[in-house]
């Protein structure tokens, strides 16, 4: 069954509206503008070629994002040999971890209670800040973190792709989470709470 032309126009419009956000996330993962745009383009074409596959079982955004993740995994695999991870980047700075704890191993400060961002507008702001925080991560750290948490790859697979040891992978992920936590706490949860009183 072919979709009616008006439906196709509508689909085109909806996909166009999604494109910038998809490119931004692909870019956060791949750290390469051209590859990010190619992956998104491939994902959008895949949807347009077989629109009947998207039967409204999820939102269009969820559907395209799912396809995009596969395209990105393909891209990562295709060029994993060129982008060997250099362990040095985030290796030596234990500061991120050390700064959190006193000498006796207790936390320096009580972590703040984070509420879930409520409502669509608040979520939109939250994700904007999350993106900024992801951009601030060192490139290799961000790549590992995005592979784990956005592409939802298993740690073993990430280690294999990037030729890292599991232990190294876990530490990189831990550091990424601590950095993101600090960034979100400062730029989102701190503000959200002071605005609400």
């Amino acid at each position: 069954m072919t979709a009616a032309p008006t439906d196709m126009n509508d689909l085109h419009r909806q996909l166009d509206a999604l494109r910038p956000q998809l490119v931004r996330f692909a870019q956060l993962q791949l750290r390469n503008q051209a590859q990010a745009e190619d992956a998104v383009q491939d994902a959008l074409i895949a949807v347009l070629e077989k629109p009947e596959r998207f039967a409204g079982q999820s939102t269009l955004r969820t559907y395209v994002t799912g396809i995009l993740k596969f395209k990105i995994i393909d891209t990562l695999r295709a060029c994993s040999r060129e982008r060997q991870i250099e362990g040095a980047e985030d290796q030596s700075d234990d500061d991120v971890i050390d700064a959190l704890f006193k000498a006796d191993g207790h936390t320096q400060e009580m972590p703040r209670q984070w509420g879930d961002p409520d409502g669509a507008l608040e979520q939109k702001d939250f994700f904007r800040i999350l993106e900024v925080c992801l951009e601030k991560l060192p490139a290799n750290t961000a790549r590992v973190f995005m592979m784990r948490e956005w592409l939802e790859l298993e740690t073993e697979e990430i280690c294999k792709e990037l030729t890292m040891t599991s232990a190294n992978c876990w530490v990189v992920l831990y550091r990424a989470r601590l950095r993101l936590r600090e960034c979100l706490d400062l730029n989102w949860f701190g503000l959200a709470r002071s605005n609400k009183g």
Partner: protein
């Protein structure tokens, strides 16, 4: 293992590693017993949960439900 009673430093690390690998029974028990009595680690655990949920739902839906349909 750093001692008889785990420190927040150890439990923070276990909370994160527990997201990436299966913890051993001993690690899980140490972590859980500590979480019962430690507000700081419990909050950290909740923050890590929210971070994971946020990443898995990214990119977010547009703020206005009409946005996706607009050029």
């Amino acid at each position: 293992m750093d001692g008889i009673k785990p420190t927040c430093r150890e439990v923070h690390r276990l909370v994160s590693e527990g997201m990436d690998r299966e913890l051993s029974l001993v690690e899980r028990t140490r972590m859980r017993l500590h979480l019962v009595v430690c507000g700081a680690c419990t909050r950290f655990d909740a923050q890590m949960g929210l971070l994971r949920r946020a990443m898995r739902s990214a990119p977010p839906p547009p703020a206005d439900p009409g946005d996706e349909a607009q050029p």
